[in-house]
């Protein structure tokens, strides 16, 4: 369908490019795969009046070329640290679907997007800490941790998540932060398990830091490669590998301190 109509007042292509990429940036930062980002950015650009949109999804930046009739505009934006925020991801996708229907200008869409970003709820920090404790304790059972170590793994993982949130608020480097959190979690889990007479202290130390395993980026990396985006997938794999090394360094330091794992 040709959306170009010179009689109707249309937003400048530069605004369409920047706003479409803003949707992509939020989706990237919420943990979406490259294919999802590509699809939803194209839908937003079409809804805002672009005839075509070509997006390049990089690990730390997005670049887009949008066109309408003979006009073309190319813009680029940075992407922040990768995270996972499913409710925001869903809200941004829902808004993108609404924009795709047409009838909304750039100013209105930007205002709606800002509202979505500000108003999407998050669980309270203490609840997330406890949930992470439950997840790691369950992981522990899946890894064969005995019942005596389950409580310490729960407590150490919850403490680790609390520490991770504190470091994130101070904008600590994510890799250094991962080592520190892994050290705290491993030592907490190991000491607690040892005090309670567990026979699976080493496994408890590992289970208590599984909150740091970058599962979503690892799976996204593979999806990106399968979807024909090897550059993005490779960048994610490198990030995942380096993160795992830093997490393991924290466990290793914890094992040195407690004399475990040798």
């Amino acid at each position: 369908m040709d959306r170009f109509n010179p009689e109707v007042k249309q937003d400048p292509l530069e605004d369409i490019a920047m706003l479409s990429m803003e949707f992509g940036r939020w989706l990237m930062e919420c943990g979406a795969s490259g294919a999802v980002v590509d699809e939803f950015v194209a839908r937003v650009a079409a809804g805002l009046g672009a005839d075509r949109a070509d997006l390049r999804v990089g690990y730390a930046s997005l670049a887009i070329t949008v066109g309408r009739g003979a006009e073309v505009a190319t813009r680029m934006c940075k992407v922040g640290s990768p995270g996972v925020n499913q409710r925001l991801d869903q809200a941004v996708r829902t808004l993108a679907q609404q924009v795709e229907q047409g009838g909304l200008g750039c100013a209105a869409v930007r205002s709606l997007l800002d509202r979505v970003v500000q108003e999407t709820p998050r669980y309270p920090g203490w609840l997330v800490d406890l949930a992470v404790g439950v997840a790691c304790a369950s992981f522990g059972r899946l890894l064969g941790v005995d019942w005596r170590a389950v409580g310490p793994v729960f407590a150490a993982a919850a403490l680790g998540q609390f520490f991770r949130r504190s470091l994130a608020r101070r904008q600590a480097n994510p890799f250094i932060s991962a080592t520190l959190v892994a050290f705290v979690g491993a030592v907490g889990g190991g000491l607690g398990a040892r005090q309670l007479g567990s026979h699976t202290v080493a496994a408890a130390m590992t289970a208590a830091v599984l909150l740091l395993v970058p599962g979503v980026p690892a799976l996204n990396a593979q999806s990106d490669i399968l979807d024909g985006r090897p550059t993005l997938g490779s960048a994610r794999i490198v990030w995942v590998a380096v993160m795992l090394v830093f997490v393991t360094a924290g466990i290793w330091l914890g094992q040195l301190l407690l004399g475990e794992g040798r």
Binding site: G31, Q86, Q90, Y123, A135, S138, V216, A218, S223
Partner: protein
């Protein structure tokens, strides 16, 4: 080959709980959390049943991810746009984080001046690394296949 149903049930329950906890960390909505726990429980049930049948970890993880991927696509009207995220969150308990840590710890150990069996340490570390790579590849491929097939049908 007989199956240890108690073990499968144990893995199912804790797989669901692990997915639920990670669902909160990933900020899934309250309704999606229920689906997330169900996806995690399904994934671990299928994987444990596969392992009990003598399948490899990679084959079991692939089957589990494929089934979760199919289920979330079949329920897409109920689940909505977040179905792919739910599938990923449900499969998170199968990501072999423990193996990854063992693999890298093994590599760290290789540089120790007092290492007694460097050959076996290296081989063990390599085996763990390969299992991590193959298992993550199997999970991601299993999850992606239903979506890719649906795209082909369109």
């Amino acid at each position: 080959m007989s199956m240890d149903y108690a073990l499968v049930l144990h893995q199912t329950v804790f797989g669901g709980l692990a997915a639920l906890g990670f669902g909160v960390l990933f900020n899934l909505g309250p309704r999606s959390l229920v689906w997330c726990a169900l996806c995690g429980a399904t994934a671990l049930a299928v994987r444990s049943a596969g392992l009990e049948r003598g399948w490899s970890l990679e084959a079991s993880s692939f089957s589990a991810a494929l089934i979760v991927g199919v289920v979330v696509q079949l329920l897409r009207r109920r689940i909505g746009v977040s179905r792919n995220t739910l599938g990923v969150a449900g499969c998170i308990p199968m990501v072999p984080g423990g193996f990854a840590a063992k693999a890298i710890l093994g590599l760290f150990a290789l540089t120790s001046p007092t290492l007694e069996n460097p050959d076996s340490t290296l081989i063990q570390s390599l085996v763990f690394s390969l299992r991590v790579v193959f298992t993550i590849g199997a999970i991601a491929t299993g999850l992606a296949m239903p979506t890719l097939l649906l795209r082909l049908r369109k």
